[in-house]
Amino acid sequence: MELTVRLAWEACLTTGTGLSKLIEANGLGKIYKRGNEEIIALRDGHLSVSQGEFIVIVGPSGGGKSTLLHLLGGIDRPTQGELHVNGVDLVSATDAALTRFRRDNIGFVFQFYNLLPSLNALDNVILPLLARGLPWKTSRQLGSSMLDQVGLAHRQKHTPGQLSGGEQQRVAIARAMVLEPCMILADEPTGDLDSSSSKSIISLMLDLNQRLGVTFIVATHNLDLLKVAGRAYQLVDGSLNIMSAR
């Protein structure tokens, strides 16, 4: 199959820019304003991530995990500090540049899957390809191949309502992976799954990380993920601290 998208995850490394890290965040901060009140969601965060790492971030609800993922994924902008992801300065990028950045560099996985209920598994997976402007036929070939990689080749025509929670999350991971992004940001990917499905999803993410070299940053309460993480961080009251590293 001739692929018209990026052929390998290695290409995420910013060739020629002199950068060696996929993520470079220094003094990262995010303050929300609610009326006159200022809420510090993240303060003075430092993070350096290389291509192919599997990072886990744990912490209590309201600790700032989702905020950090928003910033790393270009969904939100930091109010303090510097942030470069794959060579893109996310502090100064325009809205249109952020949309392109997300499309070309990031795959998102959500706790509640966020699949479009009107579309079947294959249609959901090819959405990022269509956003990228790939032809219909190529998109379907790539989407089908990606579903095969997450073990759902036989469920392509099923809509989300016909799939189990674990299967829906696999479809969501396939959707996140299909454009071969530099990095997958997963926000509580096992939070809505039973124990068995949860283990299966963790295995899938690890497999994709080790086999294809895609970087994972996972925000979770699931302690099983800590056991497989290359590095783990704790985020409490907006402060990001390293817990463990292999």
Partner: protein, 371 residues
Amino acid sequence: MLALGYFTFRDLLHDRWRSLLTILSLAVVVVGYLLLASLAQAMVILSRQAKVTNNLLILAADTIDPMDSSIDEGVLQIAREIAPSQIQQAFPILFRHLTIDGKLMQVRSVALEEMSNSVALTLVQGDWPDSPRQVVVSEGAAELASWKIGSTVNIYGTDFQVAGLVRAEESAFGSVWMTYKEGLRLFGSSHGFQVGYLSLVPSADPESVRARLLADPRISAAYSVYLEHAFTNSYNQSNSNLLILSGLMVLISLLVVTFGVYNATILSLSERGLEIGLLHVIGFTLNKLRRFLLARTLVLTLIAYSLGWLISLVFINHQRLLDSVDLIFLALKLTPLSSLIGLGLAVIFAFLGVWLASRRLVAQNPLTGND
């Protein structure tokens, strides 16, 4: 384009009940617009100015509705005596409001020869009556009662045949014209006749003839004399409130389709905020999202407009409530212009709804809810 059509179709099909409700709510708005627009348009007939003629009308003093007028035959002779060289013809007209075939009509009886020569009637189809049991009917009356040339019309228990269709340009009434003799036979002469019609020679000045007639106490004591077009206009003026209402209805109908479609679009899209936010997060630019939403909205709007148009058409073709207002025939019609204006407004404001809603909705994102 293929993907756009495919996803639009899948989306509408999956969301069929909500789509159906959206279509129905939009169709109701469209029906409201089309009915209001056609009623307003029909009422514009009241603003039509009567053609200026050289004729005078004599009615009983202070009457505005000819039905209330009663004139003695002798007044026409008095008029001839006052201005013998200016008056070409002076003849009576019997005037009645009647229900014919369940419709309110004006029945006017006038001498056969005057029907075609003096009264401001234009034959548009068929012939003038050539026998007492024939009538001519106005175009509005024919449309109102579905009469054609040759149709049989029962008036006061007597059958008449429709010989021709006439255009009574000076008025908005649905009217039936029969011979004077037949009118006398049907209605009798106890109330005299209702209108004295004075046809002047072309060189006569109707204003000065009118002044001379009114200067004679035999006329001014019991009668009023009007210029024909001025009387028609004054009768129509009595419906001026309807004209204001008509203008208001035009305005309201435009607002109905404008804000109705806009609100329905905004509401429909607001329910899909999470999905739109998700698509934006995974890389769909605002323009691509808008293209999809516009396609979806366009399909819904076109289906709803077609449905609303059909419902309006059926209603207008079968309605009876608005057949006449105070004896003035109002023919509701769906004109191509009002249909196109409505469609244009519906599409424009549906698109505006999409444009505004998409700006707001992309600000949401599906990660919201976690910490």
